[in-house]
Amino acid sequence: MLFNSYVFLLAFLPATLIGFHLTGRFGRDAALLWLIAASLVFYAWWRPLNVLLIAPSILINYAIARALLRVAAPRPRLARVLLLGGILFNIAFLGYFKYALFLTSVAHDVFGTNRLLTAVVLPLGISFITFQKIAFLVDVHGGRISRFSLRDYALFVLFFPQLVAGPIVHYREMMPQFHAAPCRCRAEDLAVGASLFCFGLFKKGILADQIATYVSPLYAAAAGGAHPALLDAWLAALGFTLQIYFDFSGYTDMALGLARCFGIRLPMNFNSPLRATSIIEFWLRWHVSLTRFLTAYIYNPLSLALTRRRLARGKAVIGRRTTPAAFVTLLLFPTLLTMFLSGLWHGAGYQYVLWGVLHGVFLCINHGWRLLRTRLWPKARRGTWPGTAAGFTLTFLAVVAAMALFRAPTVGTALRLWGGMAGLNGTTLPEAIYAHLGPLPAALGILPDWSGGAQSLEAWAWTAVLLAIALGLPNTLHLLAAHEPALGVKPQAGAGWLARRLQWTPSAAWAVGLAVLGAAGFLSLGRLSEFLYWQF
């Protein structure tokens, strides 16, 4: 069931919380088993068949992990084979459901083969679940997890706040919390949790869903072959960037809040990413738990192995005297491969893969620039305001342009949108404005647009408001910094001028404010829209 649905908010959540509180009286075991049972109901709600798919996968992973634990020390070679087998099993599991269709269509495009598969129903959240399972096996193999039970493992995989769309969690950061949780509802946890949830519901139900109503028709038109003019193309790209930010960060706030109601803190996922002043920084602020996963399990091992190998052979590595060969082997290759896999993970489609690779190229340019700057101007002062402003602008434009590719149903649609953003399809202005500007627009080659001027103005007004919130206001982690809203968030996060003035406290003013946000979000439930990231 969706977090933003009546059945979840009015039935499932209250029942689960009350049950958790009551079973907690019989001890931790009962409360944790209750959470597992509730999570299974949550997962089975869409399609009971889903449980029949995920349950065997949990049991198989558990068995492999048990075996790994036993053979890791005495028989390292066998352990490596087991680990590889476990990873392949999980990738194959994900691959069948998520990529079988894509691969047959690639085969069709490249070799002209007939499409055999027609439809495979994707079990919900399978991409997120698969990543966590792989990380678990790697951690057991690496000796970072030495004790676990089937109950703990099942809870780690199934805990419903993070089950379908993250944040992607590590066993070693979750289990100590479950083992130390008081297993009853506490006032502070409920207050902080409910506040986070209200913020999230408002972001999703009001901000993201409203901007989506302006953005979706633009993509539909471009997909149908239309060539959007300058302003429309920018509205599509900018609007969708804001939509996905408020959608996914709203979802994450809800997940953090739900977990917190049970006394559990999930890791952070978003930290005002649109304010980043470089692409490297963007990825440290956007979908942080995914970046963390990709860095730890793909980029670092690959990059470390390659760097050690080059050093052992006496070849140059990346540093003051980077050679082109070192740049290609140690930076370009691991970065592009990691981001390619990131794109593929997001979705089985050419546009996702290209989006990932495009961000990989951005990252390489960013790293290349840092190396070049260190070499050419070693004494230059860092963080000057013109440099920061230029970095912000460039990063923002790159992210927004790439988002059009992420949203477009096909690569061709994205190309038409980019053409429009570059001004290749001309410029139009709503007629109502056009008429008041005298001969100026005509002199600039701008044409009047007779369709939907009011709606276009409304869309730009929403875009401006959302942009101001995303760039100017403290985020939820800043506002609740004193209460560790996400794992590891320190009180200093709320130290900004505005954040200090707006700090969340259990006060009447905040209660009213959050009630308004929550109620607005709740009233928007009627139009029920899914979270963008639930498809992954």
Partner: protein, 96 residues
């Protein structure tokens, strides 16, 4: 100052030097509490290079599992301290 503290200071100084050289910033001074996000420019690429340069400098090899989970510089210093051959490095006088 205890032996342990002394060798900690010395390891920290070496690590600071490695990072200064990598990032071209002589103002960097690492402490046991420094985290990666505290140092501008200490990104994933610089981190991998830092780890490999540290391995070279101390003649050690970190486990991959550790590389990913060092929470702060202090954890790196302790890992190096635990791996260095006893009495093999300058400043690490045998315990009295």
């Amino acid at each position: 100052m205890s032996v342990a503290a002394n060798s900690e200071t010395e390891i920290l100084a070496t690590l600071s030097g490695i990072l200064q050289d990598l990032l071209g910033d002589e103002a960097i001074h690492l402490t046991m509490q420094t985290e990666r996000q505290d140092v501008p420019g200490w990104d994933s690429l610089a981190y991998v290079n830092f780890i490999v340069a540290t391995e070279m400098a101390f003649g050690i090899r970190f486990k991959l599992a550790d590389v990913e989970s060092f929470p702060d510089v202090g954890a790196i210093v302790r890992a190096i301290g635990a791996m260095r051959p006893p009495g093999g490095a300058p400043g690490a006088a045998p315990a009295r």
